[in-house]
């Protein structure tokens, strides 16, 4: 009887140790691991908030909706979404009319240029010297933007004749318009300067379009 009493103390101790080991293995250690994993997730999420989400939100909030609307409209006028040869030909004739010269045979030059994102046009210009120079001036300052590919200018008996081949770019809208996770940055000085340049092409002498830094 005494022997059983002596052993029961050991058995109780052994059972308690076994319970401690079992609880540790099945609950305490996994719970500790879960705690560490949660802590890591908290750190990562806080890092994402600080590094990506807050800066992006702040940048987007800092952009004035009315300002960006004007900028995009101007940029889309300078570089339209699609090839618009008819519009460009009409625009070229309008430039001629404004400048006081005659735009003869304005033509769309066909070729494998649609894929390249440019429209190529050709025309002859006739008029007096002042009108011709004014036309070149207006062409250089026009939006949509034109690039001179080929050009000749001849003067004979007071008549100025020019042949031009010019190109104008177009760019379709991007297929992806950004997401929550893509980084974004504020407009830089160069972009603002270019925007101002386009604005001045479209609205010469309008100082109200100057953008704040």
């Amino acid at each position: 009887m005494n022997t059983v009493k002596n052993f029961s103390g050991y058995i109780t101790g052994l059972v308690i140790v076994l319970i401690i080991i079992a609880v540790s293995a099945l609950w305490t250690i996994p719970e500790l691991q879960r705690y560490l994993a949660i802590n890591q997730s908290i750190e990562q999420e806080e890092q994402r908030i600080v590094d990506a989400l807050v800066p992006k939100r702040d940048v987007l909030l800092a952009v004035s909706a009315s300002e960006i609307d004007v900028l995009v409209d101007d940029a889309r006028t300078a570089v339209p979404e699609s090839s618009q040869p008819i519009y460009l030909l009409a625009f070229l004739e309008e430039l001629g009319s404004i400048s006081g010269v005659e735009v003869i045979d304005p033509m769309y030059v066909f070729g494998n240029v649609a894929d390249a994102g440019v429209v190529v046009l050709s025309a002859s210009i006739e008029g007096d010297y002042a009108g011709t120079v004014r036309f070149f001036d207006n062409l250089s300052n026009a939006a949509p933007v034109f690039r001179i590919l080929q050009f000749s200018f001849y003067r004979e008996l007071g008549l100025n004749t020019s042949q031009i081949i010019i190109s104008s770019p177009f760019k379709s809208l991007p297929s992806s318009l950004g997401s929550v996770h893509t980084p974004v940055r504020q407009l830089n000085a160069l972009e603002r300067q270019l925007a101002q340049e386009i604005s001045q092409r479209l609205r010469p002498g309008d100082s109200t379009t100057l953008l704040p830094d």
Binding site: V133, S140, V145, P169, K171, V180, L194
Partner: protein, 161 residues
């Protein structure tokens, strides 16, 4: 002894449970903050899209505008002098322009070229060669445009024949 060990064990487990529950709560808070920010950004999506469109357009505009030859300026400069008469100009998109002049004498042509050399606008173009043709009795002046290097994004704009 065993009882003390048991009490310590229970306390350790309770501590783990407490911190674990607290961490789960913190994670939920942080995730809620992130979600709120994501929704805020999502609401500003139109602004981001406009920025993206603007940047793409402006990059192409820059490439075109920077690589354009200032023909208005060239014509103005080459016709500015009463000493020589500009007969014609030809430009073929190789950054070199050829101008033909009538001049009463070689001296007047030289003087004109000197004046041209002093003009501020020569930062955008420079005279590279001058020749005289006895047949047409005209001076032929080669002018090279000093354009910035062409951007890679600039589309090929020479039409295929």
């Amino acid at each position: 002894m065993i009882l003390i060990g048991l009490i310590i064990f229970v306390l350790v487990n309770l501590t783990v449970l407490f911190f674990s529950i607290r961490a789960a709560g913190t994670l939920e808070d942080v995730q809620a903050r992130a979600l709120a920010l994501e929704q805020e950004i999502d609401n500003l999506q139109s602004v981001e899209s406009k920025l993206l469109v603007f940047r793409e357009k402006i990059a192409l505009y820059e490439a075109f505008a920077k690589n354009n030859v200032p023909i208005d300026e060239v014509v103005r400069q080459l016709t500015a002098s009463p000493m020589v008469y500009l007969v014609g100009i030809e430009y073929q998109d190789n950054q070199t322009l050829v101008a033909h002049f009538d001049a009463p004498s070689e001296a007047s042509m030289v003087q004109f070229l000197r004046q041209l050399d002093e003009v501020e606008s020569l930062r955008t173009f420079e005279v590279t060669d001058v020749a005289y043709s006895g047949v047409s009795r005209q001076y032929e002046v080669n002018i090279r445009f000093l354009l910035p290097e062409q951007e890679e994004s600039l589309p090929t704009d020479v039409p295929e024949e």
